[in-house]
Each structure stands twice: as C-alpha cells, then as structure tokens.
Symmetry: C2
Subunit: 564 residues, 2 copies
C-alpha cells in the first residue's frame, strides 16, 4: 500500500473559496493561462487570458499542503458541522452484529483499516437528512458548499448563476436534488445531484469473487476522482467486502454508494432463498455506520411484474433485480424491500443515507427497451419516492440501460411524470448493442442525450462492459467518456458558465498555446502524449495535423492581417 497518493494537474493549483454564511472553504482547481501574443507590423503585443476555475473532484489529493496518508484516511471535513448541529450521538459500539463479529476476527487484522472511528447516528426521533434541514428552512454548510462549488467562480462579466444557497435549499426541500452525505462519511466534500445543477457522473468500482484486492480498489477510487468522477459505487461481491469498503470510504473525497444486497448475499454464500429482513437490516446498519452515502435498493420490482417479462430477449440484467426476482419466485412472497420499505427509511434517516431506487427491470438490450415491465416498475419507484420523502430520506431514481435514441426522450418524460421531480440517475443508456469493447462510446451517446433532457447523474460504462471487470485504464476511459457526455449536456442545457472552459480551450487552440490547451482539457496527459507522437520539430506556428503549409488556423491569422 502506497501511503501517500497525490493527484496533479498541469498549470493548476488548488484555490479555496470562502463561504459567506458558514465558516467553510470550497476547493477548486484554478488553471493559469499564458498570454495571447499578437503580432502586427512586426510588433508583438500581449493579451492576458483570465485563469479558468474548474469544478474539482480530487479533494485533498490535489492540495500539496494537506498531509495524505492512506492508512489514516482523509481529513474529516464535515465532522464539526455535524457535531454543531447537536442532533446526533455516538453509541459506544457498532449496532450491527456483523460489524462486531468482523472486529473480533483476528485473521482480518492484517487487512483492516488501522483507525477506528466511533459511528454516529441521529438522536432518537431526530431526522438528520439534508432534506429535513432544507424543509425546516435551514441552510446548512453543506448547502452553501455546493452552491459555491456549482458556481465555479464564473468571472466572465455578464455570467451570473442562479445557484445560491437558498436555491439549493429549495431544490433539496422539493426533492428535486440530493446531497448524499452520510454523517459517518465526514471525509466527503458535499456535492449535489439534481436536474438544475451540473450533470454528475458515477464510477463503479469493486472487486468480484474473480479478482482484485483492496489496494487496487482504493487506487481506482482515487483515480476516478482524478479524472472527474463525482461519486463512486463500490459494487464488491468478493471477499472482505466490509474491510475493502472501510478503506475506500475513509479515503474517498466523494460520496460512496453501494448495493447492500450484494454483501448480504455474500454473507449467505450466495443462497438467495436464505435472504430475509434480519440479515439485510443488519447489513444496512453495518454500511450506514461505515459511512456509505447512498444505497441502491431494488424495491420497485413486484411479483406482478414478472409475467411482463415474457418475450424479453435478455430478461433481467440488473444483478439486484435478478436476485430479488429469484427470491420472490422461490419464496412465493412479495419483494421484501417493498414490504419493508418504511423500515428501511427509518434506518436511512438516522444517518442521512440517500436511497437510489434501483431499476431491476431496466432493459438489457435495445429490443427490450421501454417495455411494460420497465415502465410498471418506474411507476412503483415514483410511489416509493413519496414514502421516502415522508421520512425525509433523499431519493434518486435509477434508469436504463439499453435504449435506442428515438426511445430515450420518453424515458425522461415518464420519469418526470411519475417520480415527482426526483433526480434521475441512468446507466448510459447504450444506443446500440453491437459494440462490445466500445460500450463507453455506445453509452456516452445515449447518456449525453438523456442528461441534456434532464437526467441528473449518469453512471459510467467502461470499455470492458459486458466483457470483464475494468482495470485502471478502463476506469479512466469510462470516466472521461462520461465527463464528455455530462459536459456536453451542461452546455446544451445552458448551465451557466459551462461553455467558458470550451471557449478558453478553443482560444488557446487558435493561438497555438498548446500547454494551455492541454491544461484545460479533460485528460491533459493523453492529449500531450498524442501531440508528442505526431510532433516532428518546431510547430509553434501551425497545428500538428496539417503541417506548416496547410494549417487553416495559421492561414486565418494571415488572412486577418490581410483584410485589416
């Protein structure tokens, strides 16, 4: 385990913007640019280019002044804020039987995260969710934090965004946005997911029974943050899920989501029929106390939906969905996540864990898109959202999947109609099935569109989708493809300031300010690598594609001098 991991960006340094309501400071990346050089009549003149502020998911890893030690975890940014609210308490021990048992297992000492933090939960009868505070009219530090963060310090005159702390509060109160922020994950920097904010992307990591260890997963998590992942889902299904997750959460500056069912089933050695409320409940509490920020729960898939799946080409492709469907069929009972949904909410509200209502019936191929099963489940998710909101539990609604372009818009329309404005969180969708090995692209096409239509968060897909688990390079490819989709959607939605970065990069491109162009790009390292590969000699005055005679941008400059 390499203890000190760092994230670096070229021409950049970390800045902090102070709050006006609360004593907070919001980290951002500032990219410094060089001057534009104008040459007229043999005389040089210089034009300053304003630095560009970039929304920063890298947390303390990109701040050289912060000591980083993976074995100690990140600074606990939100701890004071949480304590000051005085609505939580710290029991003497874990409340989950499993967590207590794991702690007592000496064989795990070698892989255990070295520092133990006492878990925190709400005082009796006190909801502690950001939604609850918002409904009380309280602007929390978290709310002010995301308001500042979303604004990205647009210094361009004339661009002023509507994203004030009060706007954030109202969006949260209405359920149109969430701040996933478990009180046991104070290391995470607050971020917001909602249609009226920057489109966010989620990165899936996690080991399976087949491969990958703790080191690798922690590295992947930090790697995801480097490239711009807004949240991480730990989808581990292998050994030592509990311990792996602890390492990830303690070192993650972004919210962490899970599908608690996966670990529950590992505890049952995969025996689906043994699943019951007690063991699931213990798993929820275990993960709540560790600091998971949102849970995917497949509570909307009902017995009555199963006959609707006849004739599907790929049946159920959601892991969680297929597990609970099998449980229902084997036990002859209604979905226990549905029947226990209020019990679940009562647990989640004590930690401010958001629920991401899973779409167990999402289509696994474009031929199955938008069928009766998919939409029947969506309808149930809308009803469950209302129940969660009664408990002040924050809600995301999950969406497809594989959907051809002409069938994407209706997914957004129906989600809006049936789910009362709760933020939509989609996987892709993939616009065609015929490109395994390139599904980061097939899905970025669909994701850009659905995000433009209003989806709040898109779940990345890597080139290995359908084929194997992603390695680090796959994570990078997936994150960058999804940053492209999300950013393209921000621009198309008219998100204030989104286009500043494009404009600055394009100006740098036209000026042959290569260094600035790369610093502003989503993957400066890759851009530089390709540039170097094509470079032969001096190319300061023309682009590397055209060569010196035929560079259009060089010729345009001559033209500008010509027609002056």
């Amino acid at each position: 385990m390499k203890k000190e991991q760092r994230i670096e960006y070229p021409s950049s340094h970390k800045i902090y913007v102070k709050g006006e309501i609360h004593d907070i400071k919001v980290g951002m990346r500032l990219v410094n640019l060089t001057d534009t050089v104008h040459i007229a009549d043999g005389e040089k003149s210089f034009e300053k280019n304003l630095p560009v502020t970039i929304y920063d998911t890298s947390g303390p890893y990109s701040d050289k002044k912060v000591a980083i030690d993976i074995t100690k975890g990140l600074p606990r940014l939100r701890q004071e804020w949480i304590e000051e609210r005085n609505d939580t308490e710290q029991p003497d021990d874990f409340s989950s039987a499993y967590a207590i048992a794991r702690r007592g297992d000496e064989s795990l000492d070698g892989i255990r995260f070295p520092v133990v933090h006492k878990p925190r939960r709400a005082k009796e009868g006190r909801p502690v969710s950001q939604m609850y505070y918002a409904r009380q009219g309280i602007v929390t530090p978290e709310m002010e934090y995301v308001a500042i963060r979303e604004n990205q310090r647009c210094e361009e005159p004339g661009i002023r965004t509507h994203i004030t702390p009060e706007f954030v509060r109202r969006e949260l109160a209405a359920g149109r946005a969430i701040i996933p922020a478990n009180i046991n994950h104070p290391e995470a920097e607050p971020m917001i997911i909602g249609t009226n904010f920057r489109v966010k992307i989620n990165t899936n990591i996690g080991n399976s029974s087949l491969m990958s260890g703790i080191d690798e997963e922690v590295e992947k998590a930090i790697w995801s943050c480097k490239w711009g992942g807004d949240t991480i889902m730990d989808l581990s299904t292998g050994r030592c899920i509990h311990e792996t997750r602890e390492w990830i959460i303690r070192n993650s500056p972004v919210p962490v989501g899970t599908v608690p069912l996966y670990q529950t089933l590992e505890k049952l050695n995969g025996k689906i029929e043994d699943l019951d409320w007690e063991i699931y409940r213990d798993t929820l509490i275990e993960q709540c106390e560790q600091g998971v920020d949102y849970f995917t729960i497949h509570a909307g898939l009902l017995c009555s939906h199963l006959p609707l799946l006849k004739g599907r080409t790929t049946g159920i492709v959601s892991r969680g969905g297929s597990i609970i469907a099998n449980w229902m069929a084997k036990r002859g009972k209604e979905n226990l996540f549905y029947t226990h949904f209020e019990d679940i909410c009562r647990i989640l509200k004590q930690y401010d864990v958001a629920v991401s209502l899973g779409d167990g019936l999402r289509p696994g191929c474009i031929g199955d898109a938008n069928d009766a099963g998919q939409f029947a489940e969506l309808s149930v998710l809308g009803r469950l959202a209302k129940i969660a909101w009664e408990h002040h539990v924050q809600v995301l609604i999950e969406g497809p999947g594989h959907v051809p372009m002409h069938k994407i818009a209706v997914n957004m329309d129906r989600q809006l109609a049936e789910c009362h404005g709760a933020p939509f969180y989609t996987l892709g969708p993939l616009a065609t099935d015929i490109a395994p090995g390139y599904d980061h692209i097939t899905s970025a096409i669909g994701a850009a569109q659905i995000a433009w239509y209003g989806t709040a968060m898109i779940c990345y897909v890597t080139p290995k989708e359908h084929l194997g688990l992603p390695d680090k390079e796959d994570v990078r490819a997936g994150v960058v493809a999804y940053k492209i989709a999300a950013h393209a959607a921000d621009i198309a939605k008219g998100h204030p300031g989104a286009q500043l970065r494009d404009d600055a990069l394009s100006k740098a491109r036209f000026d042959f300010r290569w260094k600035d162009q790369f610093a502003l790009s989503l993957d400066p390292e890759r851009a530089l690598e390709y540039y170097k590969a094509g470079r032969l000699g001096d190319d300061s005055g023309h682009c590397t594609m055209c060569g010196p005679h035929f560079c259009a941008m060089k010729l345009t400059k001559e033209l500008n001098n010509c027609i002056k």
Copy 2:
C-alpha cells in the same frame, strides 16, 4: 509492400446475391450462428439461430477465392457495365499535363503503381453520371447493386424494405442520394449516400509533409474497409501525392474522395497567390482520370462572407476554406471555384465525379457554431447544388464541425431547407471542445444525433484529431466510433432491418454464446481480447463481469425455470 493483403471476420463467409435485372452479384458477409441450448428437466434441446447478413465494405479482400495482388490492383468490377453503356471513349493519352509529366519522370519509377490503365471519359456531349441515367429512367447495374446491398437480405419474416432499384433511381434523379462512381474507378463496389439509406461513414487518410509513406496509406485504406468505412478521403498534402493516390484507388473497393486544392497547392509549393484556374483545372482532370469518385470543392465561400467572421474564436478551420479565403484576400478577387463552377461541372460530368460542396466556414469551436458566416455559406451551397444538377453532376453538401447538442437540429433543418434535399455530409459535429485525445467520442455524440435527424454520411474523427495524424489504431478507433454513431442513427430512423444485428447479438449474449456475440460485434478482435483478459477459468454459464454467484442473466434463466 506486402502484396497479398486479406481481411478476415470470425464465423463469417462471403456470399453473393445475384441481381434480377442485371448480371451482377453483390458481396455480403454472412455470419453463421450456433444453436441456443435449452435445458428443461435435465433435457437439452436445441434452437437454430438464423445466420445474419451484414453490409460488407471489405470488397474482394474478404473473399478467399479472389486473387489479391496489391501491385496489380483489385478486379475491375464495373468495367463491363461502363463499356456496355457505350457512351465513353478512351483517348490515347492522359489529358492532364501534370499526369504526362509525372509519367515521364524516371526518378518516380521506383514508387509508381506498376499497371497503367488508359483513362476513360464521356463521349462528346454525353453526360455519364448516375444522376443522368436515373433522370432518363434507366436503372443501371450500379443502382440495382446498391438496392440489393442496402436490403442486407433481411430474412426475418415481416421485415421487407422499400429499397428497390426503382426507389434508388428515383432518389438519384431527385438529387436526394448519390452513387459516387467515377468511370475510372471500376474497382469500387457501388454504394449509395442519401437520407433514405443506411448512414455512411467516411474515413480520412493521407500523408502530410510531416510523415507517412505509400505502403502505410494503402494499408490504412484496406484497414478502414475492414472496420466498415464506406468511403475514403485521401487528404494527402505531402510528396508524391499523384503516385500515392494511384496505389490507393487501384486497391480501394470503396469510393475515394479528395480535396483537389491540396495537391494544386503542393504543385505551387504552397504559394497561395499563384493559384489560378489553369493549374486547378489540370489537377481536376488529372484526378478525374485517375478515378477519384468525389471532390470536395470550397465554392461557396465568397468575399462577402469574410467580414462575417469577425469575432470568431477560431476563425476558419477548414484547410480548403482558409486557403481560398487567403487567395481571395490576396488577389482581391471572388472565389475562383465559385466563378468557375460551371467549368468545374463540365469536367466532372465527363467522368461522373460527384462534387462535395465544402463548408469552408464550418465552426471550429462550439462558440462559433451556427453563426452568420456558416449559414451564409450554406445558402450559397444550396444555389450551387442546383447548378451542378443542371449538369447532372451528383452533389453532397458538407456540414459542421463543432456544434453543441442544442444547436445541432437547426443545422439539419436549414440544410434541408436551403439545399433542396441534397445529401448532407458532416464532420462530427463535436459536442464539446474540451476533450482533445477523445474527439472520436465528442464527435460520435454529435454525429449520432445529426445522422438520426437525416445526415446521409458522417466523416469520422480519430482520437488524434487536433493533435496529429492518425495511425492504424487511431483509424480503427475512429471507424468503430462512427460505425456506432451511424448504426445508432439507422436504428433511431427505423431503417429496415437495422436492429436485427442488435437483436441477434443480444440473444447470443443472453445465451452465453460468446463466439456468436463477438462475431456479430463491430470489432470482434477487441471484444475477444477484453473477454480473455477478464477470464479466469470456466465461465460458460455466467458472464465475465459478475462472476458465478451474481450473474443476472444466469439468475434470469433460473427464474424462468422457476415461474414456469
């Protein structure tokens, strides 16, 4: 130079579908599939899966029965058809002074293509374009060929396409589609570009003064055909353009396009002000006689447009556009391609070379998208299309470029309104500027959308765009990204039979018929490579992502048995 180059696809063989009107045979790729195995009550039963026919751009390279020798060139498929029309003649010598001079230059003997074919041109006063024939009510072998090809032998009951030879003829006559088919490129298999047909993709190759030789360019051309490129543009600007192009055309089973201005300027050592009609005219004839199938000509950029460019961030990014704009500014004259447009048409009609009306003012960044300059030029292109059609010259209209998603649709709308239904041929568009190194993705997002809206051909972008010239792996990445965009658009447009391939692949996926899944995918080699990387032991009964316990598709099968 490797003389015998081959293209192979797994589980596939070449089939030929015979014509009903003409004595022609149309090559296609047939993918054979294995059976689906059903297990019920311990008994196995087998379900046949129909083979899938795939539109095939690989020409004779994938037919083991055809002798391939790069130094001799491909079989001259269309030669007889052209001869039988009896409207062309073969002059004793080349008509281009440059071509004659090159032939006499002994220093070129070492790199010259070994076989010389006498050029062919129309008899005096006889237009020989497919548009002309179509307007005469003639269904040529080329028209029947593309009709068969587009149908892809949809064997699924109930799917019958409207693409008859007569439909093709009518689309050509109306100018809504083109078959680029120079009478001097009889090696090319006929293909059609139009809104009512499969979306096509173009691949740019070509050397620059900076790098790459003849071998490499020929290899890239064949490589593009392997992955599914429908046409190739040779954008060479380096040395020996004439000789390089000869090798490419003689070995290309797909139409070849060029920007004749590039070579013209090479002849002038880059001195833009020396450009005149005579040298451009000689270059057009030189390339017509070699067999170039379509020319990009930037005839729509006028003096009156130049003031409209003030305030653009990236000025003119079209190489051709910037050259002619500089010429106009330096010479103080109107665009010579515009003033000589009818002269150009008179040349092109003698060889059936299509004109692709270049968008010299396409935006080079999203900030410049849809500005007055861009649309002013588009309007001129519409007028020029009508003039070309008077000469029976087939026309494409080129389009942008860099356009954010919310501004894409209006590009298509205006093109339709101003260009009288001539097929649109766009570069991307790129939906954001901030991802150099990933512009195959930024642009596939835009290309999928504009193709869905009606664009007939999309010009690929590789990961090296803006950074350097593509190598073979970049060509592959670019072609596959664009095949995805084109296919996603075909599905969204409801192109008959397009979804068959997705459905067959998804069924194979659900059945764990990995081999079939890969054979049906756009890049079987990449899919297999990723699959192998993730594979540990036997995974015949579950997918490689989830592992044996949590495979959703495995669980669905169990579920199906459960609820029977």
